[in-house]
């Protein structure tokens, strides 16, 4: 199929991009890495948009550390996230997640901001953001605001972003000494979206567990977290399987995904324990 866009403009700076979004009266659509949007356009799942290309806004790209917080610009490509020394040292979860996302060509173009804004329930980064307790920074006509990851993801492909807002960055608490961050997933083929996936973070304050591909949005498994804090793995698995309501599709049934979530949690915990010894 041939894509049909109503228009295309390249933004010169962030303000310009927001102005164009405002002027488009709801028809505007941010184009970042294009790895989800262009595919959707080519299948005419998305048509008639006025594309606002932000991909050249260098100010939105790159990783920096300010005190105990690591800030990652929205336009940082998946491959850059995976290779960045600060990310690898202080947010290893994100670096590990990159290996599970798509294929090299896509990782070279796709952006972390695009992945968060797109909010595919099967995507890795949104679940990572949740597990890490990240803040998502956005900018709109009225200025900027920050949204905790827990409030950002609302439904399938739906976030707290307003129509004329742009996601600018993500900030994450840098890992403290002794903190462990793990990701586990099962996909049919390498690079495919996961059938189910799980992020586990263990901090001094306690465990955090986030899942993806088991519901309409990434899920923070608070019941499982509490049980893990109490050292009860079986309880955590039991809590987890009742906390999620996975979908059925041509790849796997809800029952399979639920089973898998439990397996992934056990595997992640086993790795935690492996770390301890």
């Amino acid at each position: 199929m041939k894509a049909s866009a109503a228009g295309y403009a390249r933004a010169e700076n962030l303000r310009h991009a927001i102005e164009m979004l405002v002027a488009s009266e709801g028809e505007g659509r941010v184009l970042a890495g294009g790895q989800s949007l262009v595919a959707a356009m080519n299948m005419r799942l998305s048509a008639g948009d006025l594309l606002v290309d932000i991909s050249r806004l260098n100010e939105l790209s790159g990783v920096s550390q300010e005190g105990d917080t690591v800030r990652i610009g929205a336009l940082t490509r998946h491959a850059q996230v995976g290779a960045d020394p600060i990310v690898r040292a202080r947010v290893p979860l994100l670096a590990a997640a990159v290996a599970h996302i798509a294929h090299a060509a896509i990782r070279n173009r796709g952006t972390i901001g695009g992945a968060l804004a797109h909010a595919d329930p099967a995507a890795e980064f949104p679940a990572c953001a949740l597990a890490l307790g990240a803040e998502i920074h956005v900018e709109g006509p009225e200025g900027d605001r920050s949204i905790p990851a827990e409030d950002f993801f609302e439904d399938v492909f739906t976030t707290a972003l307003e129509e004329d807002e742009i996601l600018t960055a993500l900030s994450v608490p840098a890992a403290e000494t002794g903190e462990v961050q793990l990701i586990e997933e099962v996909a049919r083929r390498s690079g495919d979206y996961a059938l189910a996936g799980l992020c586990l973070v263990r901090r001094a304050k306690g465990h955090r567990v986030a899942l993806f591909s088991v519901g309409p949005k990434p899920i923070l498994a608070t019941g499982a977290m509490t049980a893990l804090d109490a050292g009860d793995v079986d309880g955590a698995v039991a809590a987890l399987t009742s906390e999620i309501d996975p979908p059925s599709d041509t790849q796997a049934s809800a029952a399979y995904r639920r089973h898998l979530a439990g397996v992934l949690l056990r595997r992640a915990v086993a790795r935690l324990e492996g770390d301890r010894t």
């Binding site: 099962v186 049919r188 083929r189 049934s253």
Partner: protein, 793 residues
């Protein structure tokens, strides 16, 4: 003079060697020419409004909005095209009882599957044509959809084509010996239910056609990504009422076919009909969604089968009940009954046993039509046979290799006729098995498997012996009345500078046909392969032939090329004899030089001979024949098919918590007769194995109960990808066919035939200690966990 194939030091010894592919440079440099690369003056694009429902009566069609789209020139309905194009009925006389209704290029009264073309929109760009196609308003009056194969013949299931009486397209029962009696007396009877999923071929280049009609000449030229240019020439000529001599089908580079591009598709015929009506070149390139909803599907079978063995593991009887749903039409002109028919012909293939019963039931349903796809019926028959043999072995506590050795036809038993009435000229099951066992180091692998099990890992070894049907004679299609050529031809000529051009009726789909032909012609004439230019895929230029299907290119097309090349050699030597005043039989041609046959002494370069013949023919004797061009055609006569054989093995690990299968290694030993180019054959086998592994682990077209296609993209129809593929080690045994001098049989489908069964057996070998078994392909993680009883609903 015959070629001493066994002597590697013979002159011009190109047959049997890996020579560079003549078209590789072009393709790697991006200088190939695929249909979509061609743009003709005044060219237009066609897009189709396709049925969104599985079964409906076509009511009012409102084209106003579509016609208003900028760039749209004309819009055609089924009724419009029916005026210039006759419908076709895909039956074959030798498939007794096969029925199918007439099919038109665009649906006329009823739409019968999701994706069936209903309205054609012609515009200056594909984008405009698509835009307009999306605005075509058709009043679809829903009719009940038939989607389940097993209930298609039930009394309360609606009949899709009432004029045909029922939903049965074809049924064939074959019985040999006394199956009931053998089952009753057997030591063990094992039964199982198998399922193979609906697949499609997923060619990298989608179906593509560009048709030009020149009314001044009354000539149609179709640039077509096809496996069978001459067949398509005949089809266009017949249904659009043009003499065959005025239809030229040109097939340039093709990006993969796998059987997908050997059929007649309504949208492609519509494109030709529209070109004729509009007098302008019309291009149609399918997009990926169109590929999934309209390329032929295949392999949608459900099978109940039984095997009876005595206590020594000898097979006493095999009984197979096969069902398949083929969509609403049998596909023209090969028909959709062949796959089921092949299952009947091929089950039990490697084994010497007496009592055999097999029935195939082929039903209509409201899904995309199915037809022949790489290894037609083989993966199904091999899965049934090898699955049953392994289950019997397990039941007897016998090693799976041992049970096969006890039942395979002895290597000196040939010629022999199987209980399915297939005639085998010469096979090498035991030699192939011995070689495989050596290559894989079977005992070491068993030890590794046991060791892994101690560490809580479930690994399995799966073996699958198989036969493969290649080099078909007219028994496959021609005797049934189809104008599908089983013979093939080649013209070889020498140009003045001594270089050689060969025109062949078989085609290049990316598999290396031209490399294979170039080395045969080079050896046959006596020149270097680089001096040979191969031309294929042009019905106005090449000898009439069948093209590429059923692994026939090397065996049939290659032999025609060899005979034509040898004939040209003789013509050249006759002229050379006159020029050199020598007896032609004492001369030979080596590396482009006429030489003395005994001493090898150079007598004259071909270039000099060419100069004399073409420019100074006055100096040669008046009555000397001087045709430096020769054509030969070849057809197999003694056997309906040249069967090949082989055996594959898979080693894999099953994660019993997630159900994920990891392929660790794969082996294949096969016997395709004379190996012309080892690298091409090995890569054909590997490519075929990968397609078979796709069927075993990933590929499955999903429909809902209403006949809606649920996965029409590469994101959710999973094809095998490099990261998951194991190492594939290939070995050969060579039993040349005596039907030709070349002795080559086909190698294109063997990999696909055996791989799914090998994987199934390996998974079940891994799961056996846990008491689980899978027989429904693809073996998804979920199906494996369900077999293990690990998922509660």
């Amino acid at each position: 003079m015959t070629i001493q194939f066994n002597d590697p030091d013979r002159p011009n010894s190109y047959i049997g060697k890996t020579v560079p592919r003549p078209n590789a440079t072009k393709l790697v440099q991006g200088r190939g020419r695929y249909v979509d690369d061609i743009a003709l003056p005044r060219m237009l694009h066609v897009a189709f409004a396709r049925s969104p429902v599985a079964h409906a009566k076509i009511g009012e069609i409102d084209l106003d909005e579509a016609k208003a789209v900028k760039g749209v020139l004309r819009v055609f309905t089924g009724k419009d095209l029916a005026e210039v194009c006759t419908p076709w009925v895909a039956v074959l006389a030798h498939l007794k009882g096969l029925k199918s209704p007439p099919e038109h290029p665009l649906a006329v009264d009823r739409a019968c599957w999701v994706g069936e073309p209903v309205v054609a929109v012609v515009a200056t760009t594909r984008a405009a044509a698509e835009e307009a196609a999306s605005l075509v308003m058709v009043d679809y009056e829903d009719l009940p959809a038939v989607t389940d194969t097993m209930t298609a013949l039930d009394k309360d299931t609606p009949v899709i084509h009432p004029e045909l009486g029922d939903n049965l397209a074809f049924r064939r029962l074959h019985e040999e010996g006394d199956v009931e009696g053998a089952m009753a007396q057997a030591h063990k009877v094992v039964s199982a239910r198998f399922r193979t999923a609906r697949h499609t071929g997923v060619t990298l280049e989608p179906r593509s056609i560009l048709v030009d009609w020149n009314p001044a000449e009354g000539q149609m030229t179709a640039y077509h990504a096809t496996q069978a240019p001459h067949m398509m020439q005949t089809v266009f000529a017949k249904h659009l009422d043009i003499p065959e001599s005025r239809v030229r089908v040109i097939c340039g580079d093709v990006g993969g076919s796998y059987g997908i591009k050997v059929h007649v598709y309504p949208d492609e015929v519509a494109t030709a009909a529209i070109a004729k009506m509009m007098g302008r070149p019309i291009k149609f390139i399918a997009d990926r969604l169109e590929s999934y909803s309209t390329d032929i599907h295949a392999r949608d079978h459900e099978i109940e089968a039984k095997i009876a063995v005595d206590k020594d593991g000898k097979i006493l009887a095999i009984d197979v009940d096969d069902w398949t749903g083929i969509g609403p039409y049998s596909v023209y002109p090969r028909t959709s009954a062949i796959e089921g028919n092949q299952v009947v012909n091929l089950c039990g293939g490697p084994y010497d046993f007496a009592n055999y019963r097999a029935q195939t039931t082929v039903v209509f349903q409201n899904k995309t039509p199915t037809c022949q796809y790489r290894a037609v019926g083989h993966p199904i028959a091999v899965a049934i046979t090898e699955g049953l043999v392994d289950m019997a072995a397990a039941e007897l506590g016998m090693d799976p290799v041992e049970i096969r050795r006890r039942n395979m036809y002895a290597d000196d038993a040939y010629p022999v006729t199987s209980p399915a009435k297939m005639r085998f000229e010469g096979l090498s099951h035991h030699a192939s098995m011995d070689k495989l066992i050596g290559m894989m180091d079977y005992d070491a692998l068993r030890a590794d498997q046991e060791d892994a099990r101690k560490r809580g890992k479930y690994r399995g070894i799966g073996i699958a012996s198989f036969i493969e049907l290649t080099n078909p004679s007219p028994f496959m299609y021609g005797i049934g009345g189809a104008r599908i050529s089983a013979q093939d031809g080649c013209t070889v000529r020498m140009d003045p500078d001594g270089s050689v051009v060969a025109l062949s009726g078989v085609t290049e789909q990316g598999q290396g046909t031209e490399a294979m032909l170039s080395q045969i012609v080079a050896e046959g004439v006596g020149v270097n392969p680089s001096q040979v230019r191969i031309v294929t895929g042009d019905t106005q230029v090449t000898p009439y032939g069948g093209g590429t299907w059923a692994s026939r290119g090397a065996g049939i097309g290659g032999e025609a090329a060899l005979q034509a090349a040898r004939a040209l050699r003789d013509s050249i030597l006759e002229v050379a004899g006159a020029m050199l005043q020598a007896d032609a039989s004492t001369l030979d041609i080596r590396s482009g030089q006429v030489v003395d046959g005994d001493s090898g002494e150079e007598r004259m370069p071909l270039e000099e001979l060419g100069r004399i013949v073409y420019f100074r023919g006055d100096t040669l004797p008046k009555d000397l024949p001087r045709e430096l061009v020769q054509t030969r055609h070849f057809i197999t006569m003694e056997y309906p098919f040249a069967f090949t054989n082989g055996v594959q093995a898979s080693y894999l690990e099953v994660d019993t918590d997630t159900g994920v299968v990891t392929l660790l290694n794969h082996w294949c030993v096969e016997d395709c007769g004379r190996v012309i180019n080892p690298q091409l054959v090995d890569e054909q086998i590997r490519g075929g194995i990968v397609q078979g592994l796709g069927g075993a682990l990933y590929e499955e077209i999903h429909y809902d109960a209403y006949g809606q296609l649920l996965n029409g993209s590469m994101a959710d129809y999973l094809v095998p990808m490099a990261a998951e593929m194991p190492d594939m080690q290939i070995g050969h045994v060579e039993t040349p066919t005596g039907e030709s001098e070349l002795g080559a049989k086909g190698a294109g489908e063997a990999g696909t035939a055996g791989a799914p069964a090998a994987v199934m057996n390996a998974i079940n070998d891994a799961l056996r200690p846990l008491g689980a078994q899978v027989t429904e392909m693809p073996f998804t993680p979920e199906r494996i966990l369900r077999a293990l009883g690990k998922i509660e609903d």
